[in-house]
Structures are given as structure tokens and as C-alpha cells.
């Protein structure tokens, strides 16, 4: 699977794969008509797709360090874009994003802007230069640019804190989906999810993860777009929802002012199952202060540019030029899903609240709603709830509650689509969570095996031994993540946002200034990484324990404070200490031009 022949044949290979997957969907649809049960369809979808990923993982096995760490640096631009999109779009993007927009409206859409705008920073400030550097991991860049084991080790610490926060959420998401689709308890499903994740990455490292992520992107984008287009057509809202939902958006605004946002009493809300929410914010009206919106978007953008599992995807391209273009393709593939999430939220909300539609439940009697099939299913799954707070016998806007996940998972059923679509959506969610978890676990294991074990502890270790260490770490970190995920400490989305804040607190400025400011030196970088991480963590703990915060920085945007401290510490300490030696300055000059050998390739 390593020959250039395989690379040339990629469009054909993935073309056949996509055709095969669509064929599988059609077979399932026919099987459903012939009486296959919903449960069997769900199992078939998840088992079939996971089997394919595992097969790709096995075919990509390797014993070479270059293939294991950076997929042999031969991943073509467009395919690397797809792999990055899958790497990037997590279970949270797939399952929770549309739900967040459904409940919170405009304020929440800051995440859409933040999680895409960050790629401009990746493309212009970092990715091409780090590719020229020729490193295996992000701490590899820090360690070589600034020199010294302390700088390298500090980068590993920040990377591990950020990525580990992120990965527990992803393993949690694979467990949730596996437990629903396979109908087994969550505590066991988490480990089934973990084994599927490890099957993709253990044998082939980055090479295995790259080719499974491309396969996972294809599954997740079909699974997201097909229902959106289908529902839009079925509702008569327009055949191309992205361009044709203005009337629907306006109609929601009209209904909102007609119903009004009635505030429920605390006693009433106490009867609502945990985790469910009602519609309390306007759908399209601007209901957040500019700073609340902008600070969240800014934190997510800077976090994007600091997350190592994204950055390392651009180490796999054949050239600096390809790395730049590849960032553009990544964002294009992400755009396809992100621009559809608000459309799904709009369709889902309108189909539930418009009394003129047959699916609308507002204004119907409580007993009538409680008798609907899909209501009973999702109520049993603890994702839907109605209650007659004002005692008038009909469902009001403030008396209907839903879980965030239900917007993606239940809308196909509410709109009356066949069950095969729900099975497809489960497979898509699984693909999204698995691909991100793979990238993250690999980022942590590679940093520890390459930077701590090989570069610091045992620089003479042979390749075979290094790769054994890397694989053992992969399993250990995976199990640690799954164990914490099984404890269900925090929600999926909250911990994802924290991961961005941790990453930007410790890594944003040390990475950017490493390329753009020649004067930046080792002492400054260490101060920036450790000071930023410590300051960000302190702020988070302070706000979580009742601190009031300042400048409107919340526990979701603490990275703004952390990175500000990091910048100041780095600049002040750098200027107070000696400037980097001539060799380092020359190295920075070479990083800045695409031509010539990579920095590490010369050593």
C-alpha cells in the first residue's frame, strides 16, 4: 500500500469505495422494505463501516518511522484536505452543533465562525513553515527551533493537556453511539469504541489514520447532507436548502413573536429530565453582545491554530506549496458540513413548532403529542419531554424540551424519513468521533514516543524499538481516555471548547513567534508555554469556583487570558535574555523560504 502506484490510484480507490457505500445504503433501504428491523439496520451500519476502517488500518501497516509518523509525506493535497476535515470534525460537530444552534441561535453560531476562521491563521502563519521544517510532531518544531529539552518537554505538556481533554469527549461520543446502535450498556460500549479507534491507528500510525480518515469523511458527509436535502424537499422548503430557507427563517421569527418566550419557574424546570432544554433564544435575531460573540470566535480561531492534531496533518503533504493549498481544501470540506448545520437546525425547529405543518406539535393537546410514535421512542431515550406547566391541556413553546443530540439524531424520524437514514446518521456520527479520536491519540502518543522517549531519554533507540514504544503508548493513552470517558465527568461540547483554550494558552504564541520573530529565544518560549498554560488553568479554576472573571472572559474563553499572559511572558523574557545564536537565526531564515531541503532533513 506504499507504492506511488497506490497514490496515483487514489481517486479510483475512493471512487469505488464511495460507490460501494451508496450501494450498501440502497441494500439496507431495500432490506428495510422487506422487513429488516430497525435494530438490525443500526447494527449493520455501524459494524459494516467499522469493519472497513479496520481493514484499511490493517492494509496500511508499516515498520518505517517516516510512514508511521508522517504517512511518508506523500498525501496529495485534496485527500489530505478530506482527512483533515474528518480529523477536525468531531462527534461534537456532527451530533451537537446543529442542536446548539437550534437552542441558542446567534450566540452559538460564533463557533461556526471560530472553527472555520482559524484555518486562515493556520494557512498564513504556521502550516507551510512547519512543513518546511520537516518535523514529525509539533514539540519537535519547538524543541529544534528553541533548542533544549525543557522547551521540548514544555510543548509535550501543553499538547498532552489540550489533546487529552479533547479525546475523552470523543471516546465518550463513540461510546454513546455504539451503545445506542448496538444496544449495549455505555460502560462496555466505550471500550468497543476504543478498540475500533485503535484498529485504525495501531498498525499504520499516521499512514493508517490518513487513509481511514478519508474513508470516514466520505461516510460522515453523506450521512449529514443526505437527510438535510431530503427533509428540505419533503417539507417543500426548497430543493437546495442553503439558498432557499430564507422564508423558513423568517417564519420561525414570526412564530417566536407570536408564542413569546415564556420563562419557566424553577419548580417547573426541576421536573424536566437532566440535559434537556427548551427554546429560549431567538433563532436568527442577534441576541448576544458583540464581545460575547467575538471573544468566543477569537478563542476558537486561535485554538484552531494551536491544536497539534490538526497541525500535524500538514506534515504529511509532499511539499510546502501543497501544505498551503491543502489547508484551503480542508476548510472547503469542513464548510460543506458547517454551512449545513444551521439549515438542519432551521428545518428541525420549523417542523416542530409550526402549527400549519402536520409534524408541528405546538398547539396540539398534550395527550395527542404523547401518543406520537417518535415522541415515545425519544422520550424513552431521555431526549424528549413535554409537560403541561400552565394546565391548559395544549403544548406551548416553553413546555417542549429536547436533548441537544436529538436535533441531528431524531429529525429524520420526525420528518418521516425511513429508518435507514437514522442508521446512516449513526454511522456518520461514529465516523466523526472515531476520526478525531484517532488523530488526538496519535498526536499524544507520537509526542511522547518521539519527543520524550527518542529525543530526550534514549536518542540511540532503533526504529523498531521506537515504533513499539509508540504503539504501546497509543494503547495506554487510549485506555486512560476510555476509563475517564466511562466516568462521564463532563459534557462533550464543554470539554471540546476547553481543549481549544488550553492549546491556545500554551502553544499559539510560541509557535507563531518561532517563525515570525527571530529574536524569540528558548527562555522566552518556555516562559510563554508554561506561563500561558498556568495562567489559563488558574483562570478556569477561579471562574469555576465562583470567581467573577473580568473583561467578560468566561470559562469557555479563558484561553484569551492565558494566551495574553503567554505573549507578554514570552516577549519580556526573550528581551531580557540573550538573543538566539547565529545558527538558530539562520535556521529561521531557511524556514521562511519553501525551496531547499527541510531543516531536520539536513541534520
Amino acid at each position: 500500500m506504499k507504492s506511488t502506484n497506490f497514490i496515483d490510484n487514489l481517486p479510483k480507490v475512493y471512487g469505488i469505495y464511495t460507490g460501494g457505500f451508496i450501494g450498501f445504503i440502497i441494500i439496507m433501504a431495500i432490506a428495510e422494505q422487506m422487513g429488516m428491523t430497525a435494530k438490525a439496520i443500526g447494527i449493520a451500519f455501524v459494524a459494516f463501516t467499522v469493519f472497513i476502517y479496520a481493514l484499511i488500518g490493517w492494509l496500511s501497516r508499516t515498520a518505517q518511522a517516516d510512514a508511521y509518523y508522517v504517512a511518508g509525506r506523500q498525501v496529495p493535497t485534496v485527500f489530505n484536505g478530506m482527512a483533515t476535515a474528518a480529523d477536525w470534525m468531531s462527534g461534537a460537530s456532527f451530533v451537537a452543533m446543529a442542536g446548539g444552534i437550534y437552542f441558542k441561535g446567534y450566540g452559538y453560531m460564533a463557533l461556526l465562525v471560530g472553527w472555520t476562521g482559524g484555518y486562515v491563521l493556520v494557512a498564513s502563519l504556521l502550516a507551510p513553515y512547519l512543513r518546511k521544517f520537516g518535523c514529525y510532531t509539533v514539540p519537535d518544531f519547538i524543541g529544534t527551533r528553541y533548542g533544549g529539552n525543557l522547551a521540548r518537554f514544555s510543548a509535550v505538556v501543553v499538547l498532552t493537556v489540550a489533546s487529552f481533554t479533547y479525546v475523552t469527549a470523543q471516546i465518550n461520543a463513540t461510546g454513546t453511539i455504539a451503545s445506542v446502535a448496538l444496544d449495549i450498556p455505555f460502560q462496555y460500549a466505550v471500550y468497543i469504541g476504543l478498540i475500533s479507534i485503535l484498529l485504525c491507528s495501531m498498525l499504520g500510525g499516521m499512514r493508517g489514520v490518513t487513509w481511514t480518515q478519508v474513508a470516514q469523511y466520505i461516510v460522515l458527509i453523506i450521512a449529514y447532507l443526505l437527510p438535510v436535502f431530503w427533509i428540505s424537499n419533503k417539507m417543500g422548503a426548497g430543493f437546495f436548502p442553503h439558498f432557499m430557507l430564507a422564508d423558513e427563517v423568517a417564519r420561525i421569527g414570526e412564530l417566536e413573536s407570536q408564542f413569546g418566550f415564556v420563562k419557566n419557574s424553577a419548580a417547573d424546570l426541576a421536573t424536566v429530565p437532566k440535559g434537556l432544554a427548551g427554546i429560549t433564544k431567538a433563532h436568527s435575531a442577534v441576541n448576544a453582545t458583540p464581545w460575547a460573540f467575538i471573544s468566543l470566535a477569537l478563542a476558537m480561531m486561535m485554538g484552531t491554530a494551536s491544536l497539534p492534531h490538526v497541525m500535524m496533518r500538514y506534515f504529511t503533504t509532499p511539499s510546502v506549496k501543497a501544505a498551503r493549498k491543502s489547508v484551503g481544501w480542508s476548510l472547503f470540506f469542513i464548510f460543506l458540513l458547517y454551512s449545513s448545520a444551521p439549515m438542519l437546525a432551521t428545518l428541525s425547529k420549523l417542523s416542530l413548532i409550526d402549527p400549519n405543518l402536520s409534524t408541528g406539535i405546538i398547539g396540539k393537546s398534550i395527550a395527542e403529542v404523547q401518543a406520537i410514535d417518535w415522541y415515545q421512542n425519544w422520550n424513552a431515550a431521555n431526549l424528549m419531554f413535554v409537560s403541561d406547566f400552565n394546565g391548559n391541556g395544549t403544548v406551548e413553546l416553553n413546555e417542549f424540551f429536547m436533548g441537544g443530540k436529538a436535533v441531528v439524531l431524531a429529525t429524520p424520524e420526525i420528518a418521516g424519513l425511513p429508518y435507514v437514514i437514522s442508521g446512516l446518521v449513526a454511522a456518520g456520527g461514529m465516523a466523526a468521533a472515531m476520526s478525531t479520536a484517532d488523530g488526538l491519540i496519535l498526536a499524544i502518543a507520537n509526542a511522547i514516543s518521539h519527543d520524550v522517549y527518542y529525543k530526550i531519554i534514549d536518542p540511540k533507540a532503533e526504529t523498531a524499538k521506537r515504533l513499539v514504544v509508540a504503539r504501546v503508548l497509543l494503547v495506554v493513552i487510549g485506555f486512560a481516555g476510555a476509563t475517564i470517558a466511562a466516568m462521564e465527568i463532563q459534557g462533550i461540547l464543554g470539554s471540546v471548547i476547553w481543549a481549544f483554550d488550553f492549546a491556545m494558552s500554551g502553544l499559539f504564541f510560541p509557535l507563531v513567534l518561532g517563525v515570525w520573530w527571530k529574536r524569540a529565544n528558548r527562555q522566552g518560549a518556555v516562559a510563554g508555554m508554561l506561563g500561558g498554560l498556568a495562567a489559563g488553568t488558574w483562570y478556569l479554576v477561579w471562574v469555576r469556583t465562583g470567581g467573577s472573571g473580568f473583561l467578560g472572559i468566561t470559562q469557555l474563553t479563558f484561553g484569551i487570558f492565558g494566551s495574553a499572559v503567554s505573549l507578554i511572558a514570552m516577549v519580556v523574557v526573550s528581551l531580557m535574555t540573550q538573543e538566539p545564536d547565529k545558527a538558530t537565526q539562520k535556521m529561521v531564515d531557511e524556514v521562511r523560504v519553501p525551496s531547499g531541503k527541510t531543516i531536520l532533513g539536513k541534520q
Binding site: 498564513s124 506549496k321 498551503r324 521562511r592
Partner: protein, 86 residues
């Protein structure tokens, strides 16, 4: 000024332009979110709503490809682009 210094100066200029455009679409327009949402924009959506759903996102995609092409031209101009056999 050496060839490399000129190359870097031009690259830095491109970065500034890129970041300025990025700033407009990621932060600038949202300073006026409430005012802009009163006006009908593309496809009949309110302007701010359209930017958060599609407009800014699409602008970022175009911006990155534009940046990549410009940077390639700068690299070629000063003879720093990669050779195909590397």
C-alpha cells in the same frame, strides 16, 4: 537588501493583507451584528445571519486559496519555489 530579505518583506506584506481581510470577516462585521441583521441580504436572509451561516465561512475558503496563489507567485518571483524533483 538581499534577495531573501526582499522575499520576506513581500511575504510579510501579503500576511498583513490576509490578516486584515480575515479580521473583517471574523470580527469586524460582528461588531455591527445587531444593526446589520435589520437589512435583508443574499438569498433573502438577514445580513448578519447569512454571514454567520455561510458568508464568512465561504470568504475564509476563498481567502486561503487566494493567499496560497499569491504566496506561490512571490516564491517564484524571488526564485524560492520548490523544484518538482524535490
Amino acid at each position: 537588501m538581499s534577495n531573501q530579505e526582499k522575499h520576506w518583506e513581500k511575504s510579510r506584506g501579503l500576511l498583513m493583507i490576509t490578516l486584515a481581510i480575515w479580521f473583517v470577516f471574523s470580527i469586524g462585521i460582528f461588531l455591527f451584528g445587531a444593526e446589520m441583521n435589520e437589512v435583508t441580504g443574499p438569498f433573502g436572509y438577514p445580513w448578519t445571519y447569512w454571514f454567520t451561516c455561510q458568508g464568512s465561512l465561504g470568504a475564509f475558503v476563498i481567502l486561503i486559496f487566494w493567499f496560497a496563489n499569491r504566496q506561490e507567485k512571490i516564491d517564484e518571483e524571488f526564485g524560492f519555489s520548490e523544484r518538482e524533483d524535490e
